[in-house]
């Protein structure tokens, strides 16, 4: 009895532990968006001006996600060029339903071919709340052969009851489908039940007899006549006839009910016209970029020449959705919406050595620092172990009236181990961070 009791206690403990693990799971903070290598995220697509029209929606309530996405000219060699892409979103499963989407205003239900590097595209997606909960949602463009490239994420809460959800559509033949979620399931399920019932009948017809050993013995003894009788053969023939009849009946019923049908559509669209591209009156030469490992600081030294006719002030350095903003530049601060998710706007901001407006024709060497723990949190420091130790990003310069210039920068990046004797080159950012504390 004590042995049994011990076992029971042990069993309950294991069960409780298991339940504790499953129940106490907080919603996952990330869903793989940080797993891609830094060069992948810093030199492929730069998302900016991302908006989420609502952060709390009811079930069936529509909201919208918009963004601009710039495709870097310094696209990494190791991943495929954006020759075939699909406009999508990153969310934990189909918790939102998608009603409309577009790239540069062209419907994006299907894929696009041949996006151009060095170009800004206009992303738009309309969604409705479907599954109640709090979900992290990012804009995303998937690139064939490379994978999904995602922008910044925001928490969007869906309130209400999942059972209220409905996605109604009307076909071109006038049939109204009340809810796409459940459409057709009953009909398919009913036919499956019919087949299962016939199969069950057939199996029972045989399983209700002595099965293995007696039949095996009878067969060995040459008494096949006992095992397969004339009536069985007739039953078999009938089964074939009934099955064939039912198959073509079900086919006929389906196609005669829906005589107008179209096959799956696999068109790949082209972006015929670019949107108006932001100005870029800057000529930039990268000098040297370092990443101070224990200090979590990116330092860039570059030479910038103003080739336009307005003075320009550096306001923001944006890479992999992180926005390092010079808080002393009001034009740049004006671009950070008050409700923009703070995790993407590092506190440290952007420190610029001399940020007086760059006058037309002037050339100046800038020393710029972006210091923040976000480099580690977003796992952007593993370039130390990558095959492609280059970084990239966007610089936003502002005219006095707030007009924004977009400039791509990229170049080699060098690690600096200030606590050099303690850190080996192969250690990851996380380990390095631990050392520096």
């Amino acid at each position: 009895m004590t042995g049994f009791r011990k076992l029971t206690v042990l069993g309950l403990a294991v069960l409780a532990g298991f339940l504790a693990i499953t129940i106490d799971t907080k919603p996952a903070l990330s869903h793989g968006e940080r797993t891609q290598e830094p060069f992948f995220r810093m030199r492929s697509m730069q998302w900016y001006d991302v908006t989420w029209s609502k952060t709390s929606v009811g079930v069936n309530e529509e909201w919208e996600m918009t963004a601009k996405v710039y495709l870097m000219k310094d696209w990494p060699e190791t991943i495929n060029k954006p020759d075939l892409v699909y406009v999508s979103l990153l969310a934990p499963g189909p918790v939102f339903a998608r009603t409309e989407s577009s790239l540069n205003g062209i419907p994006a239900r299907q894929s696009f071919r041949d996006l151009k590097l060095g170009t800004v595209y206009d992303y738009q997606m309309k969604l409705v709340g479907r599954v109640p909960g709090r979900w992290h949602v990012h804009p995303e463009i998937a690139v064939a052969g490379s994978g999904p490239l995602v922008g910044p994420g925001e928490w969007v809460e869906v309130t209400g009851s999942a059972s209220d959800f409905a996605f109604p559509i009307e076909t071109m033949t006038g049939e109204k489908i009340a809810n796409l979620e459940t459409y057709g399931v009953l009909n398919i399920g009913m036919w499956h039940l019919i087949w299962l019932a016939i199969a069950a009948g057939w199996l029972l017809f045989w399983l209700l007899r002595p099965l293995l050993i007696p039949r095996f013995l009878a067969l060995q003894g040459g008494r096949e006549d006992l095992l397969v009788r004339r009536t069985d053969v007739v039953a078999g023939a009938m089964l074939v006839v009934v099955s064939l009849t039912l198959i073509f009946t079900s086919y006929y019923l389906g196609v005669s009910k829906y005589p107008n049908r179209v096959p799956l559509q696999i068109t790949v669209n082209e972006i015929e016209k670019d949107i108006e591209q932001p100005p870029d009156d800057l000529d930039i030469t990268m000098k040297r970029t370092t990443y101070d490992v224990p200090g979590r600081a990116l330092r860039m030294i570059f030479e910038a020449t103003n080739t336009g006719s307005s003075p320009l002030t550096l306001g923001e350095f944006s890479t992999s959705s992180l926005r390092f903003v010079d808080k002393k530049v009001p034009q740049a601060m004006a671009r950070v919406a008050p409700d923009y998710p703070r995790e993407w706007v590092p506190e440290g901001g952007l420190q610029v050595s001399n940020n007086a407006p760059l006058q037309p024709g002037e050339t100046r060497t800038y020393t710029v620092e972006a210091i923040d723990v976000a480099w580690e949190l977003e796992r952007l420091t593993s370039f130390l172990t990558d095959v492609d130790a280059r970084f990239g990003g966007l610089l936003f310069f502002y005219e006095p009236d707030g007009r924004r210039h977009l400039t791509e920068i990229s170049g080699p990046i060098l690690p600096v181990f200030t606590a050099g004797d303690m850190v080996s080159q192969n250690e990851t950012g996380a380990q390095v961070a631990a050392v520096s504390q």
Binding site: A91, A144, W202, R209, R215, L227, Y251
Partner: protein
Amino acid sequence: MFNNKEVLEYAGFGKMASRYSMYWDLIVVTAIILLFGSVIPLSVMLMVGDWDFFIDWRDRQFWPLVFPIVTIWYSAALAGIFWENFRLPIGATVGAVLLLLPVWLSRWGTWHLFNNYPMSMVTPTQVISGALILDGCMLVFRHYVFTAIVGGFLYGFTFYFANFGPMAGFFQPVEHQGAIAPVADMVGYAFPRSATPEYIRIVERSTLRTFGDTTVFYTASFAGYVCVLMYLIWWKIGNWFAQATFFPNASWIKSSVGLKD
């Protein structure tokens, strides 16, 4: 209806032996359900994959080709074992049922309840209709080669027709953002899969298309021919695996555990 008594008498089974023989049957049936109920759905998942998972992958070329070709393996192997050893014409049906039931369970549980996929996107495909024809043919012809030629062909050929009818509503045209889409495409679009971009669908990519609107008849016939071949091969494989073979131990192994030769 049955001649159970005769069979048992011939086997020389008394009351007691018959009872234990029935228990043995039950154990074997349970084992077959557990084993094949997991193996068949798993390999269909691996070999057919997205064409089976999603309604917006069920095209007129690859879905009706890949699905019957893969599923006839198990039906043929099981049919071979059951027929050759016990003259039971149920193998194909057993395989088809042990595919459909677990797949419904996983679509409804894993896909729908836990991952929020709407059932309309992930309803399963059935091959029971073809399996019944296979088993029926087995009885009629009493030979696996003829069963393969007639039943195997019908298994592959009828797959599309057996499944398309109930799904036909999914191919009604819908206008969406100024372009045409079947309802199936709309299901795939409305319920986004982050890691399954639209372009990865393999839909009607081959030269069969040049035959025009009759694509489906060519695909179905081709599926039928391949199924004939598959049935023959897998019948043999099934029976090969069902052999009882003894390999004598090497004498040094016996002696190392203290046994005499």
